[in-house]
């Protein structure tokens, strides 16, 4: 499992407390990397677990960090909430070195976090987890009517879309008029 620490900065993370998970196969020492989200909490994750993320895997390959350098420079993901990053790290650890089963019971269940999780997973390019999350989203509308789907997926009605479009046009018109007036003022 990952370790987390509160309140450390991204530049100088404190020593993670939890021992690595590789007790079962200690022959080749596993390398670890460090990531943090918006809350600056640093997560220690093995290279094997991070293989799931095409983005991080690419970063590791490009940077060629030693373990010491990696510890000193955690990968910053300022656009991902700390609890979401924790979920992602947990999932990567649980699926280290194994393929994801079609029905994965170890996956995050918090529906209220699903949107943020989807964005994070998409950003981190974790294909299997993204597919699972998208399955959850697709399952939400099984057997539902158009009205219910509209509510579940927060789809505006045609009237709302039209009103928003009018508003956007109005705003664009005002901005254009403002720019013309400003340009005329400059010319004078």
């Amino acid at each position: 499992m990952s370790s987390t620490e509160q309140g450390t900065s991204s530049a100088a993370p404190a020593e993670p407390t939890t021992a690595p998970e590789s007790a079962a196969a200690p022959e080749v020492p596993e390398s670890f990397y460090y990531v943090h989200g918006k809350d600056k909490v640093v997560h220690k994750v093995s290279a094997g677990a991070l293989q799931h993320s095409a983005l991080i895997h690419g970063m590791i390959s490009n940077l060629g960090y030693t373990e010491e350098q990696a510890k000193a420079n955690p990968f910053p993901f300022e656009n991902i909430d700390g609890d979401i990053l924790q979920m992602v790290v947990d999932w990567c650890n649980q699926h280290k070195g194994k393929p994801t089963p079609p029905e994965d019971t170890n996956l995050p269940k918090q529906k209220e976090k699903l949107f943020d999780l989807v964005l994070a997973v998409n950003y981190l390019e974790i294909k299997e987890l993204l597919t699972y999350c998208c399955k959850q989203v697709a399952m939400m509308v099984k057997g539902k009517s158009p009205e219910e789907i509209r509510e579940i997926w927060m789809i505006p009605t045609d009237a709302e879309d039209e009103a928003a479009e009018k508003e956007a046009k109005k705003r664009a018109g005002k901005e254009a008029a403002g720019e013309t007036a400003a340009a005329a003022g400059d010319a004078k």
């Binding site: 597919t131 697709a138 509308v141 579940i152 927060m154 789809i155």
Partner: protein, 303 residues
Amino acid sequence: MPFPILRTPFVVLSEIISLLEPNEIVTASFCSKNIRCLLKRHYQRGKPLEWRLLMINHDSWGRVSIETSKNGEQITVMSAKHISELQGHELKQNNEKCPVIYFEDLRLGTAMIVDYVTGLFRLDVFAVVMDSNGIWAIDWVNNRQEKMLGGVQLIKSLKYNSNADETLDYVLRNARFSLYFNLDYNVSDNFKFDGKLGPMKQLWIRSNGHWVTCDNLMNFDGLAIRIQGSKLSISDFNAFLRHWRAGASARLEYLYVSFEQETFIESDGHETVFTGGYSIQRTDGVEAMIQCSPRWFLMGVWH
């Protein structure tokens, strides 16, 4: 907990759409014009090539179904029913797994739902399944798409039985299809067909194949032919085999013929039921049924 799907990145949205069943996509398309355009654009970029769209028009119920895999499982994605089926009741939701639209004119309604679904998925109609009241669909589909139908299926109706012979004759002469023709339909004992059928991959007459003559069999151009309820005689088969040995019906790979059930009453009053067999005739006109297999032979003479 709501999920603001329209705020997700393009890749995510595409992934979600690709995980939906076709009936869910059609239902979602009714949420707004915006969603409908988005779904149409999704299928413009990549047609679901393995999907087959079926137009079903049977017992006053128009349907569009989609086969998403080769195992033949069909999912109804949209239905058209006659307005009278509401019987003055308020429209109940959620009883159906797909949108149902009620029309005064069911033919128009069926055409409309087919237009809607083909437009949404950018698919042609692959097959038409109909009863005698739905044969208009053959010309309608042929006029609306360049691609030839893959299959045609004519099935008996619980409601419409008039003009059965004319209907089958019309369908046999006018249906254009490339893969299969399935028939499960009642016609009179006098029905005859003197035209050609095919080329096709499969012809399956599931019942009432009594009208198929030796000439018909020779003129069916198919790879696999299955006829049930046949009245072909042993001399018909001899003629057909001579025709085949001479190099005709060259594309034929599989032929299965099963016969109508016949009941013989023996002299002691005992009944013997022949489920299939060859019919032969003696020079004096007496007819008999023969059944044989590698291990036994059975003959029943009509008296």
